[in-house]
């Protein structure tokens, strides 16, 4: 089954400038996203997952810089576009929702004003048409009484409702790709489940591709078709979701899955991964996971294992097939 890719990321490198010294936070990330698929990018804080997402829309903070690689949207390199061309991509082709919905909305404008602003900036609509459209969008994301709530301010919405509004805004221009950066981390579990269901439903209905960024492996397993595990700015393992969760091959993925507390069992101790995650930008030779890896050998500390692909399953480890 070959579906045409909507997004190809090739050998993406991102540096942050710190005291004249560039700190590498993303080191050679590559992946292909097919239309209508969900890719989960899983990683801990500082693994580079958010920075990578921001770079897709060229929204990196001033200190950040793409120092190498390509981001191809349907074959067109986004890194080569000018600001004006980018405006045609942002929102229309690729849209993004963020972790903290309440902080991403403008508190002094009504929800309706914010929604119609997006619509009218990109499409030729009268005020009345834009309003009609906005009502439809709010209904689409499951907000009851949409007509009335359009005139309310963000503070009158709960966290989950704010995230629904954010999703409505992201869907306003029917993008091909939705980037969801930890969209439920700030929400309660029951609300989280609702939002995840909503994203999944809309994704299937609109045939959108979704890049779902999260630190929560369990969530990734529920929404994703494909999972990419980031650690220390590098892809450690990438595979179809089912395969990754049933047969994780990288010691980091294995360790992470084993260390999760579960509702089903109550072990005497949780098999924790020792040590601390690396500081972002720290320059290491060898495998970034080596200092914490239970299977580490001398070779791991000296040279970086390549990302080797077998079928659809890619792993960055020397000992993947050896005991």
């Amino acid at each position: 089954m070959s579906i045409s890719p909507v997004l190809q990321v090739e050998d993406l490198h991102i540096d942050f400038q710190n005291d004249q010294k560039p700190l590498p936070v993303l080191r050679g990330l590559s992946y292909t996203l097919a239309a209508g698929r969900v890719l989960a990018v899983v990683g801990e804080s500082g693994s580079g997952k958010t920075v990578h997402a921001l770079s897709l829309l060229r929204l990196l903070p001033a200190a950040g810089r793409v120092s190498g690689g390509k981001i191809l949207y349907k074959g067109e390199n986004l890194l080569a576009l000018c600001e004006k061309e980018l405006r045609q991509v942002r929102g229309q082709k690729i849209a993004m929702i963020f972790q903290d919905p309440a902080a991403s909305l403008n508190p002094v404008l009504t929800v309706g004003e914010q929604l119609t602003e997006t619509l009218r900036a990109h499409r030729k609509l009268t005020k009345e048409q834009a309003r009609q459209e906005a009502v439809k969008l709010l209904e689409k994301v499951g907000i009851a009484d949409a007509e009335k709530r359009l005139d309310e301010y963000p503070f009158q919405f709960s966290g989950g409702m704010c995230q629904r509004v954010m999703i409505a805004m992201a869907l306003a221009l029917s993008p091909d790709i939705l980037i969801a950066d930890e969209p439920t981390t700030a929400l309660d579990v029951t609300i989280q489940a609702q939002i995840i269901r909503l994203i999944k439903q809309l994704q299937e209905r609109e045939k959108m591709a979704v890049i779902f960024i999260t630190h929560n492996l369990a969530l990734a397993s529920q929404v994703a078709d494909e999972v990419l595990v980031l650690y220390g700015g590098m892809c450690m393992e990438q595979a179809p979701a089912k395969e990754l969760f049933s047969q994780p091959k990288h010691p980091y993925t294995q360790g992470l899955l084993a260390s999760l507390a579960s509702l089903k069992t109550r072990p005497e101790r949780l098999p924790a991964i020792a040590g601390q995650p690396p500081v972002p930008g720290e320059i290491v030779t060898g495998c970034p996971f080596a200092p914490r890896c239970p299977r580490v050998k001398e070779k791991c500390r000296q040279s970086l294992p390549p990302l080797t692909k077998r079928g659809e399953h890619a792993v960055r480890c020397f000992w993947e097939n050896k005991p």
């Binding site: 579990v189 029951t190 101790r269």
Partner: protein, 326 residues
Amino acid sequence: MSACVEIKNLYKTYHRRKWLFGAGEAVEVLKDVTLSLAENRVLGLVGESGCGKSTLCKVLLGIEKPTSGTVVVQGQEVAASTPAQLKKMRRVMQVIYQDPYGSLDPRMTVRQLLSEPLDIHKLYLDKHERNKFLEELVQAVGLSPEHLNRYPHEFSGGQRQRISIARALALDPHILVADEPVSALDVSVQAQILNLLRDIKRTRKLSVLFVTHDFAVARFLCDDIAVMYQGRIMEKAPAEQLLARPMHPYTQTLLSAVPEVGKALTSEPEEKASGPSTGTGCPFAPRCSKAKEVCRQQIPTLVETAPGHWCACACLTQGETNDLKS
């Protein structure tokens, strides 16, 4: 099983002032909370944000005064204590907070941070004795003695949480209040801290009130679990039993929403979005799929449905069961 903390019919009301000179609008944060923490056990308090978990901790620690009701810690009522009595009580009862970045003074070294409680309570005044004590203390939480001379910014989140735990243990308390101690930590570090908490609970024979929003974490650590919603205890039971046979529709909703590897995304259990509470009746009624007329009018009381298993749901008192559809 004797209880070391007894909370009885606790109410706490805050007054939210809308205008500078206006009269406050009363917000009831805790409503009729009755809980007891048994000696040498871990009680998990599970609930969503804003349900009153942290307020309960504050009242328990004597930081906030209750509006009515009593909190008795080892025979002593917290709200009626004099400052001197409170000081004594705090030797017995210590706390760990959620945010390991905000809860440690950035200008103090670990040694100073850990010495402060000792100074306040005039313990280990001999220099050698104190050094030895501090070294043992940091080792007990998995750090090494050379860490004593460093500042908090030199540590990662997990290590900082270890320092917070060491600080709470410095006075060798009997009771530990842990307010979401692992929620701010990275996934790969959470397991380490959970293991550490379990170890120190055993070696030091602590009674722990463990506040969390994460049922999986509660299952690992807790002996008993109480579920809170909008300031009320909806259900409490031994952990194993609560997870095997959750009775309250809210507990069931919460449990089904917990994502787990290998668990399919639950289909919408036709749960209504949180409507405005009418002020009367069960606080969960607006969201409950089983809500009846009686739920909107009467506040259900906690009833013992099985030994040790308490649940506040009108459907149960009417002789029905809330068995999960299997």
